[in-house]
């Protein structure tokens, strides 16, 4: 085990836990929404970090004339990049949905603090 080599994982774990804390315990709906967005960012970082190749690496776009097997031994992981593209788009859709609902909650209740919204029974 090597702490320095795993430092990115540890930092990402802290970021993800902070976001999960904010979603669960913060009372403000807008803050919860921001935390959801940042949690997606944290996991995106985890993917990209895992797909990185140290040393003399190149982006996953084949330069003209390069041999595929040489390219495969040089470039970084395209699969991880793919997952992140998908997740960013999905994150925006989540934000749009939650923004719409939050604004409507504010119009109905005049507040977006979940502590103060106690219309329904538990």
């Amino acid at each position: 085990m090597n702490i320095a080599g795993q430092l990115p994982y540890i930092l990402i774990a802290m970021m993800a836990s902070l976001c999960i804390y904010a979603i669960l315990f913060k009372s403000n709906l807008f803050k919860k929404m921001l935390a959801i967005f940042l949690l997606t960012d944290a996991v995106n970082l985890l993917y990209i970090v895992q797909g990185y190749r140290s040393g003399n690496s190149i982006p996953p776009i084949i330069p003209p004339g390069m041999d595929p097997s040489e390219f495969a031994s040089l470039a970084v992981d395209p699969l991880a990049h793919y997952f992140v593209v998908t997740a960013v788009v999905i994150g925006l859709a989540e934000v749009a949905t939650l923004t719409a609902l939050t604004i409507y909650t504010y119009r109905h209740y005049g507040t977006i603090e979940t502590r103060k919204i106690k219309e329904l029974r538990g």
């Binding site: 390219f71 970084v76 859709a93 719409a100």
Partner: protein
Amino acid sequence: MSLKDSIIGISFVALMTAILIYAFLGYPEVGFVRPLGEFYLYNTFNFNEQGWWSASPNAVTGVLWDYRGYDTLYETMVFYVGIVAIALFFEKESSLRRTSGMTVIVRATTKLVFVFILTSAMAITIFSVKTPGGGFQGGSIMAIAYIAIIIALSRGFLPELRMDLSKAHLIKIFGLILIFSLTVIPVAYSLASGTVAYALQNQPKPWSEFGYPTFLGLYSLSGGMVIPIQVGELVHVGMGFTIMFLILTEREGKKELGGKRS
């Protein structure tokens, strides 16, 4: 924030971090590519292994619309749900009225910049098989052109560019129809010919003969169906963001809500 909240917060974050770090301690050090990634890199533009290729030099684009295209199709639909969210909650019967009072120079400059941004969005999309980019990136940039006009000038400038809400909806759905028809054409081929072909199949394979044509002679155009489907994505995403911002920046009337404010 009270003391009790702080203690709960710090202990929760510490606990959660400890659990995650415990999981990550068994992970390998950062800095190597897993074999599946190398498989995509090796095969994506390999003329010697044409049964396994996606004909796209950009491996991310190849994974995006060929190897895992079905994921991306539904990711597009998730984005569509996001547009529906805004449209369902805020769309009202309102028309965009043309604004007046801007000088000819402002109009001309804006149109010029607008055309420039639109062209670059188009380029990012079409050349995504060669360079970084793609339908989503291009669509976002196209939307930024519209959003900049909405925020910096006014919503009323959009009719000047022959754009309004229902037209944006129609163009967006046109993009979706393009994506959808490219998805079902292999299935329709399979039903018509009685052979096996799979949804969203791009290139012919030894076990399944259907394939979209690939143009490799024209230097930059390749990837079979990847480019047209990216154009569909560009239109869908660009118009989707435009619709969202058109609806959201609308001035709020006083009497719009039946419910009372408490």
